[in-house]
């Protein structure tokens, strides 16, 4: 089975810093693939290299065998690679429904004149997507007025509405309360199996609940890739990286300050 997404020798330098250093990665179809590692391990940078937000210093990215290294974010998105962002990026002046509708509308073709039938189809589909993430009763609320957890849900609804084949989630649980994390886990479990998911997450509990494959990054390089059990059992991860068992939760569960750049 060929990988949905693969990258070879992928590197990204910022000045002298090797944020991502010669990473090879294969994401298998239908996988729930987690990227973990402490702060500064290069997880987000790697995700951005895959989604096209950043361009690599060297190396290549392929989506279903097609080289996409030089394609823009929007081209990659149209090829079926969608992402959520660490700080939910939403259209804050629009309602939840309008947020999702924008994602749906692109696939129906955007025209500079009104098309009533398409419009209602888009609205229906948007309503459905909101229902999927449990925001049906919040559809007319401006995204800017949603609570943090709701914004995450909406973010996922918007991303799912793109009907991606590969979904990149950047720390979906960041800043969430335990209850919200629980709901998020359920939500991710509901993502159809044909959609492959690659996600970066600090919450190890969530990672081990969801992931079928885990890759550990350390100092920009790949430390190990394997099943959750393999990673848990790995001496390299335990000793060289995670430290003792007692500390590792602290390392991974340090909450990130939730700052949304678009809301300031």
């Amino acid at each position: 089975m060929t990988a949905v997404l693969s990258c070879r020798n992928l590197s990204r330098r910022f000045g002298a810093v090797h944020a991502v250093d010669d990473v090879d990665l294969d994401v298998e179809p239908g996988a729930r693939h987690a990227l973990i590692g402490p702060n500064g391990a290069g997880k987000s940078t790697l995700l951005h290299l895959l989604s096209g937000v950043l361009s690599p210093s060297s190396g290549a990215v392929a989506l279903e065998g097609r080289d996409i290294s030089r394609l823009s974010v929007s081209r990659r998105s149209r090829l079926g690679l969608s992402q959520t962002f660490q700080h939910s990026l939403l259209f804050l002046s629009m309602t939840a429904r309008e947020n999702v509708a924008l994602a749906v509308a692109r696939r129906h073709g955007v025209r500079p004149w009104p098309r009533r039938r398409v419009h209602s189809a888009v609205a229906d589909r948007a309503g459905q997507a909101l229902g999927t993430v449990g925001l049906a009763d919040r559809s007319e609320v401006p995204a800017g007025s949603l609570a943090h957890g709701e914004r995450r849900q909406l973010d996922i609804a918007v991303t799912l509405a793109c009907e991606p084949r590969l979904l990149l989630l950047d720390e979906p649980a960041a800043g969430m309360s335990p209850a919200e994390v629980e709901r998020l886990g359920a939500l991710i479990e509901l993502i159809p199996p044909e959609v492959t998911v690659l996600f970066v997450e600090h919450d190890l509990e969530l990672v081990f609940r969801l992931a079928t494959t885990v890759t550990v990054l350390h100092l920009g390089a790949e430390l190990i890739t394997g099943t959750p059990d393999e990673v848990r059992a790995s001496d390299a991860v335990q000793e060289a990286y995670l430290g003792t068992e007692g500390q590792h939760t602290d390392l991974f569960l340090r909450p990130e300050p939730a700052v949304d750049p678009a809301s300031r």
């Binding site: 950043l54 962002f85 990026l89 750049p261």
Partner: protein
């Protein structure tokens, strides 16, 4: 031909003196933008106010004392006006760039009208201090001494600004604010006073530039827009908010305005904006502007 060499040398020298004058003008604009996030479109009108102060104080045949007095008056007026402008802008701090820019545009219109009421619409020319009047022979042609003086002033100002920004605590705060405004306020620095002071200093630089520029450009209605556009081009070419950019941009635009115009006389009208467009095509945020499109 030696005379062609000489005229090119004169152009180069002249570009340098115009460039340094533009620097005194632009550094205030870029400082205010970098510190306060306000694109002050009243900068040109404030420059003109400075030029009128120069004309009014200096009179027909000014001595050094009178010249220094004019600079002093201009600096004080500039500081006060800047403080006032900063208070005017304060209520709009949470609003987008455009609102503040538009407010200053309105202020510019009003100020220009007030100046025209106060000083009339005649063209006023200002003599340099008598010690600096006249010309000297440079490379076979004569060259006004005052313009050589401007090069010195600009250099001195560049050094002073560099020392203040790089070596003092205020400078450190300025650098920090330019780099990350929110971080500085998050750290708990009460930058309200600092902001008023910086706005005052930025505006005072404009009025002082007006006095320095008066013997070259005079004072007249309409000069405010010409100057504003030059200053804007300089800071945009250099990169908004960057002091190094203001220096490099000013020197570059100085050369474009003299050397460019003499090399391509038939395209003289286009060299200024042509240069701006070229720089922005190559570097959309200016030469020393923040890098683009990296963070999401």
């Amino acid at each position: 031909m030696p005379s062609i060499l000489a005229s090119n040398l004169t152009s180069l020298l002249n570009g340098l003196s115009i460039g340094f004058l533009l620097f005194t003008l632009a550094v205030g604009l870029t400082l205010v933008f970098g510190m306060m996030d306000v694109l002050n479109l009243a900068h040109g009108a404030i420059y003109l106010a400075g030029a009128y102060i120069g004309w009014y104080v200096m009179g027909a045949d000014p001595t050094w004392t009178v010249f220094l007095a004019a600079l002093g008056v201009a600096a004080v007026v500039g500081l006060l006006a800047g403080g006032a402008l900063s208070l005017l802008v304060q209520p709009l701090a949470s609003r987008p760039h455009l609102d503040q820019a538009l407010l200053t545009l309105g202020v510019a219109l009003i100020l220009a009208e007030l100046l025209s009421m106060a000083f009339g619409d005649d063209v006023r020319s200002v003599s340099p201090p008598s010690a600096l009047a006249g010309s000297v022979d440079v490379a076979g042609g004569s060259y006004p001494i005052y313009r050589l003086f401007l090069i010195g002033v600009g250099l001195a100002l560049a050094v002073v600004v560099y020392l203040v920004v790089e070596r003092t605590t205020v400078g450190a705060l300025i650098r920090a604010t330019v780099a990350d405004r929110d971080m500085v306020s998050a750290v708990g620095v009460d930058n309200r006073k600092v902001r008023i002071a910086v706005f005052g200093a930025g505006v005072a630089l404009a009025t002082v530039a007006g006095v320095f520029g008066a013997p070259v450009y005079g004072a007249r209605p309409g000069l405010d827009w010409t100057i504003l556009i030059l200053a804007l081009v300089v800071v945009v070419v250099g990169g908004l908010g960057s002091i190094k950019g203001a220096l490099v941009g000013a020197l570059l635009i100085g050369q474009v305005e003299t050397f460019g115009r003499s090399l391509f006389p038939e395209f003289a009208s286009f060299v200024l904006f042509g240069a701006l467009a070229l720089v922005l095509i190559a570097r959309p945020r200016g030469l020393f502007g923040a890098p683009t499109g990296v963070k999401v």
